[in-house]
């Protein structure tokens, strides 16, 4: 009784606080009203918002990548999931996530809850102070990053997880796990400012973190039925739709043109086109590396590997994209491309990762983070004012940056793994994690959503009106 009254009281408090006018926030509107808003705000915000829109569209990319790799009986659920997750993330990240992630503080951010009452945004979110884009544009950009990271988590869980798991973990991930971890890595926290870890757009902060969640859930979820033979050998469960998979990959590739270059948080320094060039070269090398490797090892021009090669390379170039010169994109992307088929084959032997997310986002995220320690050019280290100003190993900067990278990603991995494992453990013990065998065989679309994603493929014509 008492408790519920309290709960209601604090809810009321929150609502009341929200409705009261925000005080002391440096107001874009006032400046605009008084005609003193500099053009630079508009120009930088424009780029941040447009880049953010491209990144938002990556939700469709992940959805179709997953749909393509699912069987037809589990194709519709992906849509419900992506909408639900994106929505929960939006509200959580607005309420608390952004404040934790980008407010000032070594361990956790402290300002911007409900994106209000933060005073001067350039000071309240000092790590993003290099750009004068409006705080709403920065919020939007960082939110879509959070949503990408969350989308990555689910790559390992297709075709057998309960829908409720998405809902609960999304709240925790977008409200706490991602904000805190990303705060450490690129939100001004200790890994960035004390260790000097470099992660331009989130090989670790977004991709490796997402893959770590994906790993934590997979360990407790187990493989799809029939994925391993009685003798434990892996069996093929081919995805039902390579064209839609390809649509996903192409949308993600496009999205990365917002993801990496948008992490400049502005246009006025003219850096973003260089970041696009670097990003694109890496992806290209990744496709070539993955196709060649998989052709050599399996004598097949594997469509899925071509796509995952692009993704893996894009993940890998994400951290270095603002720190390296164009040429370095080729080895970074190529090696990521080589990692993809080898990593997938190795992981497939034991655990069931239907889309290859552990490899493409996990291993390649690690590789990309490490790559900064090798390839960072001094001029960019200096310009970004993060890490060793003498650059990575190959530029004569020694092992310093490399060590910072390894330390940083290890800590981020451990934190996210523990938090995620615990969350999933609690979910498993309470509502449960996995649908029944009967549901799994029938497919999630009909069992959890009441209707097939492709009704005409499953219900005879005579039964449909």
């Amino acid at each position: 009784m008492r408790r519920s009254w309290l709960a209601r009281g604090s809810l009321l408090g929150i609502v009341a606080a929200l409705v009261l006018p925000a005080v002391a926030s440096a107001d874009t509107l006032d400046a605009a009203n008084n005609g003193v808003l500099p053009d630079s705000v508009a120009i930088n915000s424009l780029w941040v918002i447009i880049a953010g829109c491209f990144v938002m569209f990556m939700q469709a990319g992940f959805a179709f990548l997953e749909i393509g790799f699912s069987r037809g009986k589990n194709a519709g659920t992906v849509i419900a999931k992506i909408l639900t997750n994106f929505s929960i993330a939006a509200i959580m990240y607005w309420a608390i996530g952004f404040a934790f992630a980008f407010g000032n503080g070594k361990i956790i951010g402290d300002a911007g809850f409900f994106l209000r009452d933060y005073g001067d945004p350039q000071k309240a979110f000092a790590v993003m102070g290099l750009s004068d884009a409006t705080i709403e544009s920065k919020w939007f950009f960082q939110f879509v990053f959070c949503a990408v990271s969350l989308a990555i988590v689910w790559g390992t869980t297709l075709e057998r997880i309960k829908f409720g798991v998405y809902v609960i973990y999304a709240v925790v991930f977008a409200g706490f796990i991602y904000p805190i971890a990303s705060h450490w890595v690129f939100g001004g926290g200790w890994l960035q400012s004390n260790i000097g870890m470099q992660d331009f757009a989130g090989s670790t902060a977004v991709h490796m973190i997402g893959a770590t969640g994906a790993f934590a859930v997979l360990l407790q979820l187990g493989a799809r039925r029939g994925r391993y033979g009685p003798d434990g050998s892996p069996r093929a469960i081919p995805g039902h739709n390579m064209p839609l998979f390809g649509l996903g990959v192409l949308i993600l590739w496009l999205g990365w043109f917002g993801f990496n270059p948008g992490s400049t948080l502005g246009a006025l320094d003219g850096r973003f086109p260089e970041v696009i060039l670097v990003t694109n070269l890496a992806a290209a090398a990744g496709v070539i590396g993955a196709l060649t490797t998989s052709y050599v090892t399996t004598k097949n021009i594997d469509i899925g590997m071509a796509g995952n090669g692009a993704i893996g390379a894009l993940v890998a170039i994400t951290a270095p994209s603002g720190y390296v010169e164009a040429w370095a994109a080729l080895p970074i992307g190529l090696i990521a491309g080589i990692i993809v088929p080898l990593g997938i084959a190795a992981i497939d032997k034991k655990i069931d990762d239907p889309v290859g997310a552990l490899t493409a986002h996990g291993l390649c995220g690690v590789w990309g983070t490490i790559a900064c320690g090798l390839f960072t050019a001094p001029k960019f280290a200096k310009y970004n004012a993060i890490g060793n100003p003498d650059g990575g190993l190959f530029y004569g900067g020694g092992f310093g940056q490399l060590i910072a990278q390894v330390v940083g990603l290890t800590i981020a991995f451990i934190f996210v793994f523990i938090m995620s494992y615990a969350t999933f453990w609690a979910i498993k013990k309470t509502i449960g994690m996995r649908v029944s065998e009967e549901y799994e065989d029938a497919g999630l679309d009909i069992s959890e959503h009441g209707m097939y994603g492709y009704p005409e493929q499953f219900i005879p014509k005579s039964e449909i009106a």
Binding site: A236, I237, T298, G304, A345, D348
Partner: protein, 124 residues
């Protein structure tokens, strides 16, 4: 009455259908099936793991005709369906005891095919 059941390659069906129509046997039913026989399966690969489909796509044709017409049906199938490679398929003849035309409720061998008008339609 007999049902001639044929498992054939789908690409040979059109000439068979046309010739049967000309011969006055317009009525038949086809189903897409998968068959196993001498023909080898197809082995795919998905992310390294092999996946063999031991079944090859075939067309199953069912054609019910009166006893005297069985041979001409069989001959027509044999004529067009043979490529000489494994996988050409088989024909089986099965007994049918009664037949009804739904539209009219008629029964007996008279309902099986529609010799005259169909042949005429094919010609015209």
């Amino acid at each position: 009455m007999k049902m001639v059941v044929a498992y054939i390659r789908s690409e040979v069906f059109e000439p068979i259908r046309t010739e049967l129509l000309e011969l006055g046997f317009p009525s038949l039913s086809v189903t897409e099936v998968k068959g196993s026989g001498r023909q080898r399966g197809v082995t795919g690969r998905y992310r390294g793991a092999e996946l063999t489909d031991y079944l090859r796509p075939k067309l199953k044709v069912e054609c019910v005709v009166g006893e005297p017409d069985v041979q001409v049906i069989v001959d027509t199938f044999l004529k067009h369906a043979r490529t000489g490679a494994v996988g050409d398929g088989k024909l089986f003849v099965m007994p049918v005891e009664e037949a009804y035309r739904v539209r009219t409720g008629e029964s007996g061998a008279v309902v099986l095919q529609a010799h005259r008008d169909a042949a005429a339609a094919a010609a015209g």
